[in-house]
Amino acid sequence: MVELRNVSKAYKNNVLFTNLNLTVPRGDICGILGENGSGKSVLLKMICGFALPDAGEILVGGEKIEKGKFPRDIGVILDCTGFLPGETGLDNLLLLASIRGKTGRAQVEENMRRVGLKSELEVKVGKYSQGMRQRLAIAQALMEKPSLLVLDEPFNAIDIKSAAHFRKLFRELNEKERVTILLTSHYSQDVQELCRHTYDIGLLKAGL
């Protein structure tokens, strides 16, 4: 599903990766562990097409991510949630859903309920707590039923009980709908409880 072949990347004169290889098979749940600043987010952003590798190639769903192209059928959560604070959570998601036109209001509302934002549908995002924004980001990633989920620190700002709920939700998505999941975290517990394969970013960089 995701394949990185000899990927090298430097950012602001810092060499992040040299000849990095990684394969995430379809239907897998794969976790990448690493400290802050180790390059996990940049790795995910390269998979999404937001950052460009200096060398090597990235394939998502068998398609090479060419310069300027974004992968299709993908749900993403990155380090910052770009929602409009003056709009309600529901309106934010409906606005995003209108771009592809693949999903309707009913599915959007259903996804908000799924992540525990049932009573916040009509509340403005500006009034959301950090944890609620993260939940909205999860709903945003799930709402178009993607076959690949790329999640950067998905449990950030989420309490322990809710994190367990989301781990269960991701596992269900993987088992029932065969959604491939690639996530990063700096907490080994998150990754070990959820993922079938775990990689340490330091070892990946070293080619081990």
């Binding site: 952003k45 937001f50 770009g82 606005l95 995003l96 771009i99 980001a137 945003q140």
Partner: protein, 259 residues
């Protein structure tokens, strides 16, 4: 495409920007009408419209600053990843962004014109040549509006280029505003002659000449032109650069600045 344009307009709060702009245009148009009548009590409606276009410190410095502030995305491009990932590629995102902003610039100009038309109502229609000899008011005004539209569009593209290089909205805004400000200072200062040959310089330079000249010399007004060849070259060059840089932009870490 309409859905994407709608998202871009909402995401970048262009409607809010337009309201903000209208308020500024209302105040400035009123102040200009008062100022014009004070200098030229016998001035007519047509002369007022041309005179406003000639106030380059407002048209070429103040308004671009307000326009850029209003058109700058409230969020960094990096934090707009939920939108970005729903596009097929960067080019599509870039095209929608530029189309939305160009439309916004056009609406802003039309809003300013509407305000001026509103405030000129109390002035006489017949000219007594208080400010200028030529009576081709409409022709001059339309040509100046086209120049101003191109000037503002060029600044928006410059803003886009700097955003790709600097990744900092506020710094980008400050540098972009320095361009018309520099143009204004040079046009006001000793370097007038150095700027005279450029349309940017001509827009501002001619005005200085007109305001300071007796009416009989103002026949030079015929030199007012729409410099389409110049603007076409400048805008195509800036568009090419902006698109190339956007294609190479790293949406990795970006300073987020709420405007």
């Amino acid at each position: 495409m309409p859905a994407k344009l709608r998202v871009e307009i909402r995401e970048c709060r262009l409607v809010r920007g337009l309201v903000f702009w209208l308020l500024c245009a209302l105040v400035v148009s009123y102040a200009m009408a008062v100022s014009f009548l004070k200098k030229y009590p016998a001035g007519c409606q047509g002369e007022f419209m041309v005179w406003v276009c000639n106030n380059y410190h407002v048209i070429l410095v103040l308004f671009p600053l307000l326009l850029l502030a209003a058109a700058s995305s409230a969020q960094s491009q990096n934090s707009r990843y939920p939108v970005l990932i729903r596009y097929r590629n960067r080019n599509e995102f870039f095209s929608v962004k530029i189309a939305a902003r160009t439309g916004f610039v056009m609406l802003c100009l039309l809003a300013l014109v509407a305000m001026l038309l509103f405030f000129r109502r109390g002035m006489p229609v017949e000219t007594r040549h208080a400010f200028m000899v030529s009576e081709d008011f409409t022709g001059i005004f339309v040509r100046q509006c086209l120049n101003i539209f191109c000037f503002w569009s060029a600044l928006l593209l410059l803003h886009e280029i700097l955003q790709s290089i600097l990744n900092d909205t506020m710094l980008d805004l400050a540098i972009t505003t320095l361009v018309p400000l520099g143009n204004y200072i040079l046009a006001k200062g000793v370097a007038v002659r150095a700027l005279e040959w450029t349309p940017w310089g001509k827009i501002s330079y001619k005005i200085e000449e007109i305001l300071g000249a007796p009416p009989e010399e103002v026949e030079k007004l015929g030199q007012y032109q729409f410099y389409w060849w110049y603007w076409l070259a400048v805008i195509l060059l800036l568009l090419f650069l902006a698109k190339e840089l956007h294609g190479k932009k790293e949406f990795v870490f970006e300073r987020t600045t709420e405007l």
